[in-house]
């Protein structure tokens, strides 16, 4: 048997619906015989009648409704059709869900699934990675699973957590990434994972870029370099300890993220490492991000816009030379 990243997300939701009657799924096209634009909820509406519900095209109200339901005992999972459309629910996410516990002492256990990141030909409005926006504001946990196993266990954990979780699943991994079977347990949220050990350079990354980083590590291994790859898993909370420990071993830091270059996860990691572990570094920390333009439609442009094994490897080689 082999299971994809997308199937893991579907299986996690099936399990959640099965095990916890407080769970329901809410979003555009998630229900009926259709099961979502990416089929992440395929079959669930039939298996769990009345608990997988289609909504109007009303992102703000979808999240508002989930908040209200969560306040009164439910554990809603919201699917945004694309992460990009969550810009319209952002106010409810940041200002309502994100502030509620701190203001009232009553937590808001909602999980918002954001199909994120670029795929070929998807263009400016179906390719965005928004984790840095959500992580900037207080009150939210922001997950960015990079493996089939994490996609599964982290979604289950997201629903268990009493706080609002923004779960950024990467569309590029949906079909590309496969595992033999689903795990029974995983690392907890807030813990980074050493995806590959090394001692010459640390690449800190998350989501689809973990695969690119691993490819770079493989490539550079043939040149005799041992690259350590840290998969952040959750960009907020961010596991500074694991990152620092890795940099302590390698002395070199390269941060890679698929979102836009100004601010965001890669800047945050560098700011933390340099302020808390400055003397661990033998060379200037470096970043690779997407370019500072909207995400292009044409594959020629897109393949250059997003970081990839080639651009990451180039940066890594430079850094190893310093």
């Amino acid at each position: 048997m082999s299971i994809t990243y997308l199937e893991a997300i579907r299986e996690a939701q099936a399990k959640l619906l099965r095990d916890d009657e407080r769970v329901f799924i809410y979003g555009q096209d998630v229900g009926g015989t259709f099961g979502g634009a990416f089929k992440a909820t395929k079959g669930l509406a039939r298996e769990f009648p009345g608990r997988v519900l289609n909504t109007p095209i009303s992102e703000d109200a979808i999240v508002g409704t989930a908040i209200g339901a969560a306040l009164h005992g439910m554990r809603p999972i919201v699917e945004m059709q694309f992460a990009d459309f969550s810009s319209l629910a952002l106010n409810q996410i940041l200002n309502n869900a994100g502030t509620h516990y701190w203001r009232t002492n009553v937590p808001v256990p909602i999980t918002i699934r954001l199909p994120s990141g670029g795929t070929k030909g998807s263009g400016p409005f179906h390719s965005q990675s928004m984790e840095s926006i959500y992580a900037h504001y207080p009150g939210l946990i922001v997950m960015t699973p990079a493996t089939v196993e994490d996609a599964y266990t982290m979604l289950i954990e997201a629903v268990a957590i009493d706080d609002p979780v923004v779960y950024c699943e990467h569309k590029y991994l949906y079909y590309h990434l496969k595992a033999d079977k689903l795990p029974t347990e995983g690392l907890p949220a807030g813990k980074a994972r050493i995806a590959r050990e090394g001692r010459d350079l640390t690449i800190v990354t998350y989501s689809a870029m973990v695969q690119e980083a691993l490819a770079v590590a493989e490539e550079l291994a043939s040149d005799g370099f041992e690259i350590e790859v840290v998969d952040l898993r959750t960009v907020k909370p961010l596991d500074t300890d694991t990152v620092l420990a890795s940099v302590a071993r390698t002395g070199r830091l390269l941060c890679v993220g698929e979102s836009f270059p100004w601010g965001g996860a890669t800047a945050e990691v560098i700011a933390r490492v340099t302020s808390e572990g400055f003397h661990l570094l033998d060379a200037p920390p470096q970043r690779v991000n997407a370019k500072d333009t909207p995400i292009p439609y044409h594959p020629n442009l897109w393949s250059v816009h997003r970081p990839n094994a080639k651009s990451i490897a180039a940066k890594a080689r430079n850094l190893l030379r310093e």
Binding site: R22, F24, T55, P56, S58, E59, D60, A61, I62, V63, G64, T65, A66, I67, G68, A69, A70, L71, H72, G73, M74, P76, N91, Q92, N95, N96, G98, T99, H100, Y101, W102, R103, T104, N105, V106, P107, P138, G139, L140, I141, I161, D162, D163, P188, A189, G190, K236, P237, L238, T240, D241, R272, E276
Partner: protein
């Protein structure tokens, strides 16, 4: 099912509203007015930080919102709903605590003035962004239905200004799609802050929006307590009986500034002479006197009682400690996850 009707109820002699209910409502209104007058004087004296937003002129609508709700219902009050909040059960001392920033208040000094709530008791804590609480109310009602609860309804308040937000539209539409037992009480007080109706909307009647969502819609005179009790009470009953969601649009004038920092000099004299500019509390008071529903002494007793309640709430809250800045500054409840690095 989709008709839009105009209701009016000139006096309580219509029998639609029993005297007791009217008098009970009147006392909540009195309490709210007395309390808010006190807040205003504290604010003027520099004893309240931030803003003070009062419901003067809107107590009749507001009290009717709170009065027909029961334990198990969901209430999403807004800026001008002191009367309704009290009638629904919010302790006055909690309001004082919120305005004065006591650490014992429900918001513990973290949030102030109108942004308070008791979500566990069904009173939602509004965020400032208008329109946002409608869908939250819908969600709470869905949760109750999921859990098999019975006989609950939700009531969400809005101003005519807030009705123009996208969030309000989406929430209202979703309520109809989900067929939850929701009553939306909109108060057209003719201004959103300084902006008059002409720059807010261009339809003849806001209540005409009901039909376009599958709501039942009714207008009401927000200065007439008896009408408010009748129309809002009936809508609550219909919602409990499983009718479609209800939209009520009350007409009033805000008899204060937008907040107490605002002198409302933009409110025209012309508009102040409109029927909807009447003071609902004075109208109710006059009716009580005219119909001799309560004698002067008892009425004075009520006033004294309101003043005493207000004094006590304020005095209690004023004695309480301010929040301690040495807190753990953690915005999530799952503390084990908290990022130690920050």
């Amino acid at each position: 099912m989709l008709q839009t009707a105009q209701r009016s109820s000139e006096t309580i002699k219509t029998k639609a509203v029993p005297h007791e209910r009217f008098l009970e409502a009147f006392r909540w209104m009195l309490l709210a007015r007395t309390f808010e007058e006190k807040l205003v004087s504290l604010y003027r004296g520099g004893l309240i930080t931030g803003g003070v937003y009062i419901g003067k002129g809107q107590e009749a609508v507001s009290v009717a919102c709170g009065l027909f709700l029961q334990k198990g219902d969901i209430f999403a009050p807004l800026i001008r709903d002191q009367a309704g909040r009290s009638a629904f059960g919010e302790p006055l001392v909690d309001v004082a605590r919120t305005y004065l920033g006591s650490r014992q208040g429900p918001m513990r000094g973290r949030d102030g003035n109108i942004h308070r709530g008791l979500p566990r008791q069904g009173q939602l804590a509004m965020i400032s962004h208008l329109g946002a609480m409608v869908s939250v109310t819908v969600g709470a009602l869905m949760a109750k239905r999921f859990k098999g609860e019975k006989n609950f309804i939700g009531l969400s308040c809005i101003g005519e200004g807030g009705m123009q937000t996208g969030s309000f539209h989406e929430g209202m539409n979703l309520a109809a799609v989900e067929q939850v037992p929701l009553v939306i009480v909109a108060t057209n007080n003719h201004y959103a802050y300084s902006t008059p109706n002409e720059r807010e909307f261009a339809c003849a009647e806001l209540v005409d929006r009901a039909k376009g969502y599958g709501f039942e819609g009714y207008n009401l005179d927000g200065t007439d307590l008896s009408a408010c009790l009748d129309v809002i009470g009936s809508a609550v009953k219909r919602a409990r009986a499983g009718r479609p969601p209800q939209l009520l649009v009350a007409s009033t004038l805000r008899l204060s500034g937008h907040g107490e920092h605002d002198d409302a000099s933009y409110v025209t004299d012309e508009i102040k002479r409109e029927p909807f500019a009447q003071d609902c509390l004075k109208r109710a008071d006059k009716l009580i006197v005219d119909l001799n529903l309560v004698d002067a002494k008892r009425l004075q007793g009520w006033r004294d009682d309101a003043a005493a309640q207000v004094d006590q709430a304020i005095t209690t809250a004023q004695k309480e400690a301010a929040p301690d800045a040495n807190e753990d500054w953690c915005a999530i409840s799952t503390r084990a996850l908290v990022d130690q690095a920050q």
